[in-house]
């Protein structure tokens, strides 16, 4: 199995990577675990592969309780890092729920955030997919829609985002640092992704050549003992989420003073559950409040013909995640 031939080059430094990445048809190669699958499946056909895997962007470091992840840090190294396991266990949990041991040794933080959807219509050559071939239609909309989104979809695309790490980082309000033609920029992870609307082939707000250099997670040590990542999937390991929930709470004197919830597998991007968060804040973490948070999580869900079960699954996953944190405190 292989795709069309491409030119290979290695980026000498980050500036060179940006220059080479801006060329027409260029694709960055980091761990390669998604790019090679996409290339073999015909979902991507780069003219040039720019190898960034050896750039010095692998460090994991901490600052005032916050955390910086180099874009090329391997997932297994991040999950095993003592500062991550101590202050940011949510990140380690999400990573260890992802892929397999071999893939976590190869895959990088930046590549994980930019992985393409697992929608079978996107991944299978010959099927209609506006993301792979704009204008060809969305096969999932009227076809097999079990994986499809409950939120944020459009009539041109109902695919979901597959990253576990992105869901955890969304709940932790992480920021992305990029280098591009316009220099260095830093913005919330939520602003990296785009909803499909009528241009599902554009998944991020990155311009050609923009290189993710790192991720910054603000001080989250206050959540370390009260966070959880719940991933519901079709088998116990090495499978993408049907539904996942990242939850963090801060409880003081029996009252929730801070709540963050994000869901995976249900939208084209990590889906922040702000209405559930608002319903939790200022209240005691008791069953009726938690049930309300579950109800609000699915309030605006718009299921298709095969994914209606995900509505109840998400509601229950939110409740289970919050109960898990409650049991830990």
């Amino acid at each position: 199995m292989s795709g069309p031939a491409f030119h290979y080059s290695r980026a000498a430094d980050v500036g060179d990577a940006v220059n080479q990445g801006a060329r027409s048809g260029a694709a960055f190669l980091a761990g390669g675990t998604d790019l090679l699958q996409l290339w073999k499946a015909g979902a991507m056909a780069p003219k040039g592969v720019v190898d960034i895997s050896r750039l010095p962007l692998r460090d994991v470091s901490s600052f005032d309780g916050g955390l910086s992840l180099g874009a090329l840090a391997r997932l297994s190294d991040v999950a095993a890092h003592p500062v991550v396991t101590r202050d940011h266990p949510l990140i380690a949990e999400a990573i260890l729920a992802s892929a397999s041991g071999q893939i976590r040794n190869m895959a990088t933080v930046g590549g994980n955030l930019l992985q393409r959807t697992r929608c079978p219509y996107f991944r299978t050559e010959g099927l209609a997919c506006n993301k792979r071939r704009p204008g060809s239609g969305c096969g999932a909309l009227s076809g097999e829609s079990r994986q499809a989104a409950l939120f944020g979809a459009s009539t041109s695309c109902v695919a979901t985002h597959a990253s576990d790490l992105a869901v955890a980082l969304t709940a932790l309000e992480a920021e992305v640092e990029i280098l591009g033609d316009a220099g260095r920029k830093r913005f919330p992870l939520a602003d990296l992704y785009r909803l499909p609307a009528d241009a599902p082939e554009r998944e991020t707000n990155l311009a050609a050549g923009d290189l993710i250099t790192g991720i910054h997670v603000p001080n989250a040590s206050r959540f370390a003992a009260s966070s959880t990542y719940l991933k519901v999937r079709d088998r116990a390991s090495f499978e993408f989420a049907v539904v996942s929930v990242a939850a963090v709470l801060r409880v003081e004197n029996g009252t929730i003073v801070e709540a963050r919830l994000a869901a995976g597998g249900v939208a084209p991007l990590p889906w922040r559950l702000t209405r559930s968060e608002a319903a939790l804040t200022g209240r005691a973490p008791e069953d009726p409040t938690i049930a309300t948070a579950g109800d609000l999580a699915v309030e605006h869900a718009r299921p298709l013909s095969h994914n209606g079960f995900k509505v109840e699954l998400l509601r229950n996953a939110v409740i289970r995640a919050l109960q898990t944190i409650g049991g830990r405190r």
């Binding site: 190669l29 699958q37 499946a41 116990a236 390991s237």
Partner: protein, 167 residues
């Protein structure tokens, strides 16, 4: 990193040949490869080390597992050009017929295979997992989820790894 050896020569057709140096099982190789060759194709087709298997070729089955500096990776998702200068271990570098690796011996004792196609990948993945010190049978099962066995020898595979891990 050895940028000097990874010299790409482009052609109008976009078919590049890349000079690559790689150490496999302690032996260094200097070869010309296609830009789009995977590490798996290099190992099997160019170097003739066919112990590493091509199962799904999409990163799902784990039959192509090799070690890079002791860490397990899937060679079907590794672009060979990106591994210039690296040190790789394949199943041919593990044990000998006279002196098996302890995990190989345990696989035989526990009857941890039927057809044997997935076994090289299972062994290499298991060796790397042993270095990660799995603390329970559940941790071994989770740690081996990247290696599929169509014959369903999973209980015996887990038992073999558990024996060597002392679990």
């Amino acid at each position: 990193m050895n940028a000097a050896t990874a010299t790409a020569t482009g052609s109008p057709l976009g078919v590049d040949t890349i000079a690559l140096s790689i150490t496999i099982n302690g032996k260094s190789h200097h070869v010309g490869i296609a830009a789009s060759a995977t590490l798996l194709d290099l190992i099997r087709d160019q170097l003739g080390l066919t112990g590493t298997k091509k199962g799904c070729d999409m990163g799902a089955c784990g039959a192509c597992t090799v070690l890079m500096q002791g860490r397990r990776i899937k060679s079907c998702l590794a672009l060979a050009a990106s591994y210039d200068g690296e040190t790789i271990t394949t199943i041919e570098g593990i044990g000998t017929a006279e002196a098996l690796h302890p995990l190989q011996a345990a696989f035989i004792r526990h009857d941890a295979l039927q057809c044997g196609y997935c076994t090289p990948g299972q062994i290499l993945s298991g060796i790397a997992l042993l270095d990660e010190k799995p603390e329970s049978l559940a941790a071994i099962r989770e740690g081996m989820s990247g290696n599929l066995c169509r014959c369903g020898a999973y209980p015996n595979i887990v038992a073999a790894i558990a024996e060597v891990a002392g679990r």
